[in-house]
Amino acid sequence: MITFKLKKGLDIPLQGCAAADTMGISRPEVFAVVPDHFAGITPRLSVHEGDRVKAGTPLFHDKTHEQMNFVSPVSGEVLAINRGDRRKVMSITIKADLQDEYEQFDLSNLTDGKQVKQALLKSGLWMFIKQRPYDVIANPDKQPKSIFISGFDTAPLAPDYTYVLKGQTSALQAAVDALSKIAKVHIGLNAKQHNVELSGLKNVEFAEFDGPHPAGNVGVQINHVDPVNKGETVWTINVQDLAIIGHFLLSGKVDLVKLVALVGPMVIEPRYYRVRYGVPVSYVVKGTVHNEVPLRIVSGNVLSGHQVEMDEILEPTANQISVIAEGSDTHEFMGWIMPRFNIFSTNRTVGSAFLCGKKDFDFDARMLGGRRAIIVSGEYDKVLPMDIYPEYLLKAMIAGNLDRMEQLGAYEIAPEDMALCEYVCTSKLPVQAIVRQALDNMRKELE
């Protein structure tokens, strides 16, 4: 097995790591599915209000790929189809039964890649498969050259997959066996932490990665093992989602339940919760966090996640919820010259840079500076362990120069890979938003 030693990157010392302990949450009466959770698709409804559905029954499908279903996470009755401006479907609510009934899928003859693909599209689990380039739900018409799965996550307070995947070897093996009929499956392992559930898998190509965040990002791993070139497609799947696919392949049932880590400095007891898709954030967060100060609830990690409100539905791809203080009530006097031993920085103009590795910090959501033009050079290079010039790529993206983006490696990049660039940026540029918009634009123009 090859080991890649990565030097560039940064581990952010955020307080509130999850303990190895899982709790259930109370079951809401009403579940909701939000089409906006599935970026890049246009929903066409398959159900009406009042229809009976089972867990796994299609609620809607994609307009351009009709075979791509999005299914109900529970059994019950379709309560309402909520629409917004121009009749856009905002959410589909389902009044849940007390006990779930599952749609039974026939998986008796998954002999080739095509049938595996069909089964995943039909069961709604396709949503877990993303593609590079563009970092969107994979286009089923394109044959990938390989499938990449990162076996660990280095993001701040990310779930520990040695814990999350415990006892799921058979499901993972089933998923890998099926997917390897489509393309070669690669799994990136953490050189520092042995994961027995993953390391014994067959039909897989392994590579080990040793280094700070973003070593666990699948994009970084692809760049080192088998980089994406023009015209090529690579699929990526989160490893917990891979286990969900595996359970489906073993049982024929779609069970959209996963462990979500509730973490961060404002969480009273950081731990894991067993969450079914369709549940509002409040079911996990209410009563489990300190609420003396304004809070920021983040779906995902604090680098590449996004802010959510209490009543929003947690998306199916979220593996963690991070809670930090908003910080809007802090008025720091002359912050530009204060030593700031209490606010983390990698920059040695700040006192805390000398405490690096010695303590964890309770970050808040403040920008800690104003937006400027790019001034300082070489900052981004230190946190992106890929053979890419991030500043030049970003400038090409701002300029909307598609040729230049292509030349500089835009096909290999997802917003999350450049999240650390955004974190360290002295000029406080919205790096990920720029990357997302540029990739969307590129996809529109080139596909």
Binding site: I12, T349, S352, R366, G369, I375, E422, Y423, T426
Partner: protein, 402 residues
């Protein structure tokens, strides 16, 4: 105490906001507001939710702090040279006070003119004030000759800020170092006023103190580089202002005529150590300038070109004139320097080479640092382009290899 101050700021805010009486000065208000209190705007809904504790203000202020030793020594040296020129004895504090009073008007002019333009443009473009001029304004008095009339400094500063910076889009978009453009403007627009022996020594008084003193007989105000350029022999014994020989250590100590900030290498090294320790300036750029300059001077030493500058030992070139000051504070400006790490090596090396080449081969300009940096400012994007192009080629090769 800060809470009270915060309340005052909040009370004033509506007056300066849209529709308020003093809305025309909102950029000024924003400037002071963000100076007093770190803005508590929080991250957007999408994108990183936490940010690093560094920002543009902090970065810029580090450069200003790094410049303080050179400024303080420069002030003392201005007083020292003045009393030497007029043949008077003066104590340490009188010497320093004279220098302070002589340099202070340049700071006032530089900041009033430069910041005035910055505030106006920020107001006009509805943008926050960028901190770039804090550094530029601090540099200008340190690099212009101390006998320059103030109105010339005002015009040069205005020219540089408007035509070297604002028309490109402001801080972060300029191609040339703004402070150096100020100096270059002075040297090309008023060549007769910028030459002569006494340009770098304050012969006249300041604020009415010591006006109209006669110059002592033994005094010669020529800078060491000036002595090299005007030497009639092919070797020259460099001297300080009172005619004593100038050794390497004397040049390090800096009590000889020159621009305010450039003479004392120890003070510059102190500033350099802060910039390098905090990582604000690139050690690659700095290091490669000294390597390039030293190597080029060494080549001239043995080349057979027979003039005073070519025969000056290579190590003297590195500590005389604006070489060290330019290498530490001017060439490392990230906006106008090469931005790729490989590019920084090339950029720095070529600045060193060019600076010494101009010193030796161009009799019109005793000092080559300013022109070398400005020239390489123009070439920095090209250097970066080549470095980035190599990355693009590597990526293309990946497909063809298969």
């Amino acid at each position: 105490m800060f809470d009270k101050l915060y309340k005052v700021v909040e009370k004033l805010r509506p007056t300066f906001s849209e529709g308020g009486k003093l809305h025309a000065f909102h950029s000024l208000f924003d400037g002071f507001d963000t100076f007093l209190f770190t803005p508590n705007t929080t991250a957007k809904r999408n994108g990183v939710q936490i940010h690093d504790a560094t920002d543009s203000k902090r970065t810029m202020i580090m450069v200003v702090i790094a410049l303080v030793p050179a400024m303080l020594f420069g002030m003392y040296n201005v007083g020292y040279q003045h009393f030497l020129a007029t043949g008077q004895e003066a104590g340490f504090w009188a010497t320093f006070a004279f220098g302070l009073l002589a340099v202070l008007p340049y700071y006032l002019v530089s900041y009033i003119v430069g910041l005035g333009i910055e505030f106006t443009v920020a107001q006009w473009k509805h943008e926050e004030i960028a901190e770039g001029f804090l550094v530029t304004g601090f540099l200008i008095p340190l690099i212009v000759p101390i006998n320059t009339p103030l109105w010339m400094v005002a015009i040069a500063t205005a020219f540089a800020v408007i035509f070297a910076k604002e028309i490109f889009g402001g801080t972060g978009y300029n191609i040339f170092n703004v402070a150096l453009i100020t100096r270059a403007f002075l040297f090309f627009a008023y060549p007769t006023k910028m030459s002569g022996d006494k340009m770098f020594v304050r012969t006249d008084g300041t604020w009415g103190w010591d006006n109209g003193q006669a110059i002592a007989d033994a005094f010669t105000g020529a800078t060491p580089l000036g002595q090299m350029a005007t030497a009639s022999e092919s070797t020259v014994q460099l001297t300080n202002a009172s005619g004593q020989a100038l050794s390497f250590m004397d040049a390090m100590n800096g009590l000889y005529p020159g621009s305010v900030g450039e003479t004392c290498v120890w003070a510059i090294l102190l500033g350099a150590s802060l910039l390098l320790f905090t990582g604000v300036a690139s050690w690659k750029t700095m290091f490669s300038i000294f390597v390039g300059g030293g190597l080029m001077a060494l080549i001239f030493n043995v080349s057979g070109i027979d003039n005073a500058a070519a025969n000056t030992p290579w190590y003297m070139h590195l500590v005389l004139g604006g070489f060290a000051f330019g290498a530490v504070f001017m060439a490392t400006d990230p906006v106008t320097s090469a931005r790729t790490e490989t590019g920084k090596w090339i950029y720095g090396f070529l600045i060193g080479v060019m600076a010494i080449t101009i010193r030796v081969l161009n009799p019109g300009f005793p000092e080559g640092m300013m022109l070398a940096i400005l020239l390489m400012n123009a070439f920095a994007p090209l250097i970066d382009w080549c470095v980035v192009q190599a990355n693009i080629k590597r990526r293309l090769k990946r497909i063809t290899v298969k």
